[in-house]
Amino acid sequence: MDEALLRSLTPGVLGILVRRGADFAAAEDAVQDALVEAVRAWPADPPRDAKGWLVTVAWRKFLDATRADTARRRREDRLDEEPAPGPAPDVDDTLQLYFLCAHPSLTPSSAVALTLRAMGGLTTRQIAQAYLVPEATMAQRISRAKRTVSGVRFDRPGDVATVLRVLYLVFNEGYSGDVDLAVEAIRLTRQLAAVIDHPEVAGLLALMLLHHARRAARTAPDGSLVPLAEQDRGRWDTKMIAEGVGILRTALARDRLGEYQAQAAIAALHADAPTAGETDWAQIVEWYDELAALTDSPVVRLNRAVAVGEARGPRAGLAALAALDEASAGSSGRGHPVPRHAAVAAYLHEHAGDLATAARLYAEAAGKATDLAERDHLTRRAARLNALLRG
């Protein structure tokens, strides 16, 4: 039973049903039913044409459901309306389905859930497990999402940027339950890259591969965070890095830079360095300048301050940080503080030799951390400096 194959066929089958005139929500239900049946029937009796089998079964499920629905309505309204099966042109609807699942009318969490189900072929239970919510909650989230997009016209071109944002959200959820969402996000992004020729799709795929290649080295056996400079580079997946770099090169050569390509370029420079000390920080600063010009994001400028600190020394980094503080105080007053601001300030003060300030800021940063591994890491840093100061 090849579950990966089964799941990779999902969007194609769904697309054919929708092309034949099925409503998206009903088609999606029918495809899920067909997948369940395939899991049951295939181990004993594997089909020769897997996709054809799925299309046939899903279409039959759809017709059964529609007939039952129509019969009920006929009883209720004495109306007779049999949906006419439309033509089934031989076009790939995968891209349209991506757009639909990431439709701007959906909330980010609904778009993520719908994408994982309709594009990824995951079951509601698997998605619920991955997001640590009850299955009933996830089922409702998915059916609401389907209702929301059911009136959306299938042929209208969608927004690639929205699709990429949804895929990156999936990727960043990482691993929990029996589905590795990072791997799933990479698979879906590969599939998207196969149906659309777009440098930012390639940029996101490269970025995911470059991050994912370093995952094994990012945490210690006890689950604690290992910072980039201290990671065992022998544990990086060099084959995946090479693939990411290759995809990125091809994308950059087309000279249509976007934020994912710029982020991937930064990740590639980290991945390229044989040791942390040999990292080309000067070039990383240049890429952050490009990224800041594209996004104008305070998070990017904060990361740039780290890179400046490495390239030109901690004092220069602190100056970049001060410039960032001034800009944000001038524009929006005291709004949401940028995540990791205190952590970056602590790091730069530590390297500038002001251990007392660094310890205080690490403790402050730990209090603001939004994830557990990061909080523990920052608390350890603060404790280490405090021990040095006492000693």
Binding site: M138, G174, R375
Partner: protein, 136 residues
Amino acid sequence: MAKYLLLKHYRGAPAAVNDVPMDQWAPEEISAHMQYMRDFAARLEGTGEFVDGQALAPEGTWVRYDGEGRPPVTDGPFAETKDLIAGWMVIDVDSYERAVELAGELSAAPGAGGKPIHEWLELRPFYGVSSPTVTE
């Protein structure tokens, strides 16, 4: 997509605006209050935002290790100084603003006289999972 814990307190939170102890309410008022909270949970399940919820009994006890071979120390029930949690609900929402909006709605549960109780609810974010960043 962030999880938040909504905490209801028996004691330890600031006093509710409509601050009448529940045993002084009319029975229908208690039923209306409970129904409101059930409806609230059911609605959040419908929006795909419900994770979990439980009510807790008021008899909380502080417990502490008291050394090798000795039984744990307890403070006994009903210590005057401690906070008491009455129950919790876990929600999974798209934003902090949405979490505040829902906590506000739950705080509007009807109390004595059928008027909103205006109780204070504690809203606490869960720690998430670590996500990669460019600088790591």
